[in-house]
């Protein structure tokens, strides 16, 4: 079963530290200070804030991934219990974005070594004349695969607002539920309250 990360709206204080950590973790250069960040933060999770809830949301790594099922160029593949995007294949058609039932997919500009990448053929007409058009690709949570300390968002959150839902977690959760239902049923039977 795929592992995913779930935010806890009861704990999240809405500081956006997770968004920063996620953006920084996905740069191909090391960035420690605010002034080194001379490109926008491009996070793979998104902090939702409404009047009633504050909660980070990110990819659920669905078993039958709707995004992968609709992708016409095969840019989403399954690897190490996770749905992974092959950025070099992605053509930015937004099919996956529409298919995702949780709205956890973003089309975001692609940066390499701190520089935006531009398309070869496409130009944009603007008041300043013809401009190059940035490369935009689908980006979503990849569970920080390959990062030594694991998911950056979990590591940074001051409120402990994330849980890793992995097969062990689910197995234990399901097991505990079964045990408690069994106990509940048994109790009712012997006290004759059924």
């Amino acid at each position: 079963m795929n592992t995913f990360i779930l935010g806890n709206p009861g704990k999240c204080i809405g500081c956006k530290a997770c968004e920063i950590a996620c953006s920084v973790a996905h740069l191909d250069t090391s960035v420690v200070k605010a002034n080194e960040m001379n490109l926008p933060f491009i996070s793979r999770l998104n902090l939702v804030r409404t009047s009633s809830v504050t909660m980070p949301i990110q990819c659920r790594q669905c078993e039958d991934a709707p995004c992968a099922n609709v992708c016409s160029v095969g840019a989403i593949v399954h690897k190490d219990n996770c749905n992974v995007v092959l950025e070099e294949k992605c053509i930015g058609c937004k099919e996956c974005m529409l298919a995702c039932p949780f709205g956890m997919i973003d089309m975001q500009p692609k940066f390499t070594e701190g520089e935006a990448e531009f398309q070869v053929g496409l130009k944009v007409e603007s008041l300043q004349g013809e401009q190059k058009k940035a490369y935009v690709v689908m980006q979503k949570c990849d569970l920080c695969k390959g990062r030594a300390n694991g998911p950056a968002c979990i590591e940074v959150c001051p409120a402990d607002a994330f849980v890793i839902v992995n097969p062990d977690f689910i197995r234990k959760n399901i097991h505990d539920k079964r045990v408690s239902s069994a106990q509940e049923i048994a109790k009712r039977k012997y006290t004759g309250n059924s």
Binding site: I13, A17, E19, V31, K33, A34, N35, E36, P40, P158
Partner: protein, 463 residues
């Protein structure tokens, strides 16, 4: 009453998510508001330490629309509009426009001073490793920016030790009010003034090094260069946002001249250097100017918690015993615990000391003093977590996990720089000897009293 000029630390209501992490670090509970809604700063309580600026992680996202454009936000903050770095909810109002104007004004004779904590952090703004030591490049950059004299707060820190050390010895030997408190940290001073006014007489009457430097620029410095004090524009580069507040205090004025005209934080100086197109990392190593730019290792220590104490002990020991101190490295005052107590045996005199970092840690001690239970002579207090190296105007670290290593490296280069100096004690600094011989007379004398000491006063807000 809120003085507009003291309204230095702000929270952008459009960006603030109301997480209240700033309220957690605020030492005086000055941040008010409900969880999840934009916060406000109670200006009367706020001690302008800028720790809220350092911790805030709510940033302006390119995926959201705000009523105020990024450019307007940068302008409101007095930050260059060409800046590419992200902007956050908590910020300080900068002083760059004033300083740029002074630098282009041909009438103005600009004198700049640089606080010790700036040279252990500014290089971080140019991609060098955390805590890189860069005094020479810093002096070179200030010269290229066009300042007429590149002076140093470290010199004034040495001067502070002469005055404050003598004041302490006088209070101990002649029976003055004890314990005596350091008065170098403006946030700490403001805190005493507003929350413990009855303890104000415990504060040393010394101005802080920033202000002492400013006074000397417009008197001794003016003489040295044959310029009129009227034409001197005095700029300070500081790791601290509260130094902006301190420089504007009416008490910080000598004979009608404000000691310091403008204060830039470490980050603001970095913006200025970048805007001028100066390549910091490849600058040559240059010296600060004389006379007001020469310093001892002791003066440099002021930027770390325990540093003022260590510098004071090096001098006070010799004032009391007339003998050289056996070991200049005074380990027990160093470290990062909130409160460090110790005793110095100077001949027959036992000087009991307390070093406090983090303003919250001082409250129990002040209560102890109020009850009359204090059994020590001298207390150093710095508001920020490990002293000025962790000040609110220092380079902003994005993720909290990197803060610790940044502090550690800045502190270790502080002690390394002290060890590199020819003179390690304030009273051995030849320019300090010269200034007393040629200008000031003696510590605590009439002239030094007029120029280097001040009075602190009760403030509106009291708890």
């Amino acid at each position: 009453m809120v003085d507009k000029d003291t309204d230095i630390i702000k929270i952008d209501a459009e960006l603030c998510t109301g997480c209240r992490r700033c309220a957690e670090v605020c030492p005086v509970d000055a941040i008010e508001g409900k969880q999840g809604t934009p916060q406000f700063i109670n200006v009367e309580k706020c001690v302008m330490c800028g720790q809220c600026i350092q911790i805030c992680s709510a940033y302006a996202s390119i995926f959201e629309e705000y009523r105020t454009s990024r450019e307007d936000k940068l302008r409101e903050r007095n930050m260059p509009v060409t800046l590419e770095e992200p902007i956050f909810a908590a910020y300080n109002i900068g002083d760059l426009p004033k300083v740029k104007e002074a630098l282009t004004n041909t009438e103005a004779f600009t004198m700049v001073q640089c606080a010790p904590a700036v040279r252990v952090a500014i290089a971080e703004e140019f991609g060098m490793p955390l805590g890189s030591l860069a005094p020479g490049k810093l002096a070179a950059a200030l010269r290229q920016l066009g300042f007429n004299r590149i002076y140093d707060t470290n010199f004034a820190a040495d001067l502070t030790i002469m005055e404050e050390g003598s004041e302490l010895v006088q209070r101990i030997t002649e029976g003055g009010l004890l314990p005596m408190f350091t008065s170098c940290c403006p946030a700490w001073v403001k805190f005493v003034e507003q929350e413990y006014p009855e303890l104000i007489p415990h504060l040393s009457s010394c101005k802080s090094p920033q202000q002492m430097a400013g006074t000397m620029f417009k008197t001794y410095g003016a003489q040295a260069d044959g310029v009129e004090p009227d034409n001197i524009y005095s700029v300070a580069i500081m790791p601290c946002t509260c130094k902006k507040f301190e420089s504007q205090r009416p008490e910080m004025n000598t004979d009608g001249y404000q000691n310091v005209d403008a204060v830039l934080t470490t980050r603001e100086l970095a913006y200025l250097i970048k805007e001028a197109g100066i390549d910091f990392s490849s600058l040559p190593e240059e010296d600060f100017d004389k006379p007001l730019g020469m310093y001892s290792g002791a003066g440099h220590l002021f930027c770390a918690t325990g540093g003022v104490m260590e510098a004071a002990i090096r001098t006070a020991y010799e004032l009391i015993t007339n003998e050289p101190i056996p070991n200049v490295n005074i380990q027990y005052v160093r470290g990062s615990q909130g409160v460090r107590r110790g005793v110095v045996h100077a001949g027959d005199v036992k000087v009991k000391t307390v070093v406090v970092s983090g303003l919250k840690n001082v409250v129990p001690i002040l209560e102890e003093i109020k009850k009359g239970n204090a059994d020590f002579h001298f207390m150093e207090v710095m508001t920020c977590p490990v002293g000025c190296v962790s000040g609110g105007g220092q380079p902003k670290v994005l993720l909290p996990k990197d803060t610790e290593i940044a502090y550690k490296n800045r502190i270790s280069s502080t002690y390394r720089h002290d060890e590199e100096q020819t003179y390690r004690k304030s009273h051995e600094n030849p320019e300090i000897k010269a200034i007393y011989k040629n200008f000031l007379g003696e510590p605590l004398g009439h002239k030094s009293h007029h120029l280097l000491h001040t009075e602190y006063k009760q403030r509106g807000y009291c708890k």
